[in-house]
């Protein structure tokens, strides 16, 4: 043995080496785990920390009617911004800018003196102020256009168009459904920030570099829409009703020419109306069609040869026992022809026709007319019609469904069903969109809709003849007459279901008139539904006159030649009395004042904001704030409180609640 035992020393040295190399191997293994296996997760976390993109929204696409009249447009409003890093002398710059912008000298200086990359000086200024700012030629200060949504026709077609929210995204209607097309691609300026929220690497702002949204051309005819809405409003007012719905469909193409809901709201100030008013009831609300379903039942029975066109049926003198239930007519009738059953609107007659057809065939026929389905129109929130499976129908419900109770539709679905009668027996789903106009000039048309034959041409013609009789001195729909044009249509009055007591309400009705004209070569289908009229509540009395006035003005706008042998005013092309056009200039809503910007370096106030608004402001603030939102509704408290100094990596906690 010498100084040390070499064999033992070597062995123990190997042991130490194994321990240390095991440690190093562990480190490499762990690094592989982090850098290969968890690379994506951790990179995403890292990006979230240091990247805060500045998003400049694209110009939102315009919405036009079928003749190119603007329905929703985006106005580029100038906004003044600054890049403080590029402002050499913030003191002088502030002195020059403050008076032009009408701002406090100190607040302008505060904003220019920071070392952020982008601050708004004043948003949505007038063109005059923008021109003055440009004339100053101040380094680091520029004008960018911010898009603002504007609805020149105000209430006209408001429900259909919808509106956009504070973040510029469509929240309702066409604006919502076509948001991806309308919105375009925002310009994203990547900005790298350090943990203290300061911009570190330079991004640049070039307002020209963005992809604008596509324009939309609707099938809507602004003139028809305007008169429809005006007449509907007048009718609702006259009947002291709660509201009303009117639909005008083009017979040839099933395109929606007008879709009106009353009461309306002003989409330019959508926030000032309540959500109930903003609901597009023409697609979201179902009602029982009542007697207006009878022509469909008759058509189905004729088509199935369950009844002969010339047949007469005994109407039991006003009361018929079905199972344990008595069906009544408003007036007792004896023997009536099929045409008279429609003209007099006999429930007993309709029930007998339905019984002749039989439960299963009736249910199947109603489905081919589109009952129980969605019409598929390009609007959000459409509900499918209510049509229970045939096997659940009792004898009584087969009878009541034959005169329109126990099924439910929205106005558009009823219009699409009537269009079958008007269009020689063919069903075509309604549509609202003519074309999507891409910013590069490309025009995209919606896919061709599948058409199906529901009735033989002859059957449709027969029912049309019968429905003409409804609009005569012998029928319930006399008031739907349009001077100069032959009208085919049917009244309907349905009790509303009582949500509290169950069953039907005794005094709340929906008065309906559905029809088309001119009867000999139908051009448009019109459905009018008046919700809860007071006193007089029948479709013939309340809805038919509204149908008549909408029909007349529509015929004029479309330049339809009056029916032969009908007296009436000439169909001279009428100058559109559309007040809407002048509203383009006059009725601009005042632009909202620029959002209050918190002084740099302090925490802004989020109180009262919705989470969506919070995120909008947060996106502008950039990184440096760690946002944490608790609850839903509006911000009721925040920590730290507004005005507190912003330090690096600050955690901002917002408590939201529904008030």
């Amino acid at each position: 043995m010498t100084g040390h035992d070499r064999r033992r020393f070597a062995a123990r040295g190997r042991f130490l080496a194994v321990v240390l190399f095991a440690g190093l191997a562990l480190v490499v293994g762990r690094t592989v785990q982090l850098q290969v296996l968890e690379h994506d997760t951790l990179t995403a976390l890292a990006r979230g920390e240091y990247l805060s993109d500045l998003r400049l929204p694209a110009r939102r696409g315009q919405v036009y009617d079928r003749h190119g009249k603007p329905l929703a447009i985006s106005v580029d409003v100038p906004s003044v911004f600054a890049n403080p890093a590029a402002v050499v002398d913030p003191r002088t710059a502030a002195r020059r800018l403050a008076p032009v912008l009408g701002l406090d000298l100190d607040s302008v200086y505060q904003r220019l003196a920071g070392d952020r990359l982008f601050v708004w000086l004043k948003r949505q200024v007038t063109p005059e102020i923008a021109a003055q700012v440009t004339a100053l030629h101040q380094d680091g200060v520029g004008i960018t256009k911010e898009s603002r949504r504007f609805y020149p026709n105000r209430e006209v077609a408001a429900h259909l168009l919808g509106f956009v929210g504070v973040d510029g995204h469509g929240l309702e209607g066409i604006e919502r459904i076509f948001d991806p097309d309308l919105a375009g691609e925002p310009q994203v300026v990547p900005t790298v920030r350090d943990a203290r929220g300061k911009a570190v690497l330079k991004g640049s702002v070039d307002p020209e570099r963005r992809t604008d949204g596509s324009d939309l051309r609707l099938t809507l005819d602004l003139r028809v829409q305007h008169s429809t809405q005006t007449e509907l409003e007048a009718g609702v007012r006259a009947a002291h009703a709660k509201g009303g719905i009117a639909v005008v469909l083009d017979v040839g193409t099933a395109e929606v020419l007008a879709l009106a809901t009353v009461p309306a709201f002003n989409p330019n100030q959508a926030a000032q109306s309540d959500a109930q008013t903003r609901r597009n009831r023409a697609v979201t609300d179902l009602f029982e069609p009542g007697s207006s379903l009878k022509p469909i039942v008759v058509a189905a029975a004729l088509e199935a040869r369950a009844i002969e066109p010339g047949a007469t049926l005994f109407c039991e003198n006003g009361a018929m026992r079905v199972a344990d239930h008595t069906i009544r007519d408003t007036k007792p009738h004896g023997w009536l022809s099929v045409a008279d059953i429609l003209a007099k609107s006999s429930n007993i007659g309709a029930a007998k026709i339905g019984a002749n057809l039989g439960r299963d065939r009736l249910a199947a026929a109603l489905r081919t007319f589109g009952f129980g389905e969605r019409s598929g129109v390009e609007l959000p929130g459409e509900v499918a019609g209510l049509l229970r499976p045939a096997e659940t129908w009792s004898t009584v419900s087969t009878a009541t469904i034959s005169f329109g109770h126990g099924v439910a539709v929205n106005a558009l679905q009823l219009g699409a069903a009537y269009r079958v009668l008007a269009a020689d027996g063919r069903y075509l789903p309604p549509t609202l969109i003519q074309a999507v106009l891409r910013p590069d000039g490309a025009v995209e048309t919606p896919p061709v809709r599948a058409e199906r034959r529901v009735l033989a041409e002859k059957t449709a013609a027969r029912v049309t003849g019968m429905l003409e009789k409804v609009v005569s001195a012998d029928g319930t729909g006399l008031l739907a007459r349009v001077p100069g044009y032959r009208v085919a249509g049917k009244t309907g009055t349905a009790q509303k279901p009582d949500p509290v007591a169950g069953g039907y309400s005794a005094d709340r009705y929906v008065a309906v008139f559905a029809g088309y004209l001119p009867a000999e070569a139908p051009r448009v289908v019109i459905v009018v539904a008046i919700d809860e009229p007071e006193d007089v509540h029948t479709g013939g009395a309340v809805a038919a006159p509204v149908f008549a006035s909408i029909g007349l003005s529509t015929m004029r706008f479309l330049g339809v030649v009056p029916s032969e042998g009908q007296a009436g005013p000439p169909p001279a092309a009428v100058a559109p009395p559309v007040a809407a056009e002048s509203t383009l200039v006059d009725n601009r809503p005042p632009l909202p004042a620029g959002r209050k910007v918190a002084p740099p370096g302090t925490v802004p106030s989020f109180l009262g904001m919705t989470s969506r608004e919070v995120l909008g402001v947060y996106a502008q603030l950039g990184a440096g704030l760690n946002l944490e939102m608790v609850g839903s509704g509006r911000v009721v408290s925040q920590d730290p409180s507004p005005g507190a100094a912003r330090a690096g990596g600050l955690r901002l906690r917002l408590n939201l609640a529904n008030q």
Binding site: T2, D5, R8, R14, L34, T41, A46
Partner: protein, 403 residues
Amino acid sequence: MSTPVVRSRRDSTSRSMAAMAREESRGHGGGRKGLPLCVWLVGAVAALVGIGIVLVYSSSSVFAARTYQDAEHFLRLQLGWAVLGLVGLWVATRTSAELLHRRAGLFLAVSLFLCAIVLIPGIGHLAGGARRWLTVAGVGFQPSEVAKVAVVLMMAAMLARRDSQSPEARQSLLVPVALAQVPVLLILAEPDLGTALVIEIIVGMMVFMAGLRLRTLGLIGLAALPVFYHLVVGTPFRLQRLLSFIDPWAYRSTIGYQVTEALISIGSGGVFGVGLGEGKHKLFFLPEAHTDFIFAILGEELGLVGVVALVGAFGIVIWRGLEAGRRAATGFDAYLAVGATMLLGVPAVFNLLVATGLLPTKGLPLPLISYGGSNLVLTLVALGLVMRVERDGRGVAAWEAAT
């Protein structure tokens, strides 16, 4: 490791033989050219110092620009320390084993003195709640770093003497261990738990090399547990570090912040890294980016490729260092090589395990890489000692083969 050579070498003869061999190797006698230093060691150390300087610059420039209005502040300082350290390394390779062996006690005494006066308020510089710095001519350095090297020298000398006098008596192994507790206690008083722990581990490794059974080491460790427990649990920030280690993501915004940021930083590097200087986490996201957590910046900017290269370089130094101990000319040299290698190896492995979240956060720099002057200089000096041992070992082997 080929056939283990068991040679009988009585102290006096072996000493003179070794001395002759050393003369030979240095090229003093006979006009022969001296043996070169080990290329593995020199290459790996040069690579590590190079990577270190680049990373210190990359990780500190933004912070330095903000704090000192000079992006190259830390780079310049670290370059200066590196030059000083390389001079120290060169001197260490030229210092004879006899001088080191004889003066080991003196080195220890000087380092104990420095460790003692750093504790005196007014002399020792207080930073971050600890007194670890002595300032000489405006330049700060840490006496604990000097103490680490001195303890290794002292241990090597005492273990070599014990081997020649009473190699069978295991109890005598505990004498140097007891002596090592003096600097450890002084360092604990600063306080610097990390460095104290590293010294204890190296002391343990050296007596283990000298024949102490693992069982005995385990018992000593067990006996130290209550002390360790007190040090950890009795100090709130250390307890928190331990808690955050168990689940850093649960404490992500508070005490787990540093570790999770390090993990995110490493993970975002991927296989090839985001590129030198392109890392984002040094932008104040990652605390201690240029010191204790510089590995995370390496992982982010150079990716898995850089990590493997770095770990490989450390592995080469550890391997060649232990090998130098096995082939050393004398017992003193053998212990010295192992101890000095561990001065690099132990903190390196600790730091890497901490930076990858495998050990609780411990304030230990990554040797040769992290920013920090005294650590860089003394680590290079220690590696100079290893290189000298390796060269002498080769010289003796050659001399013996020749005679």
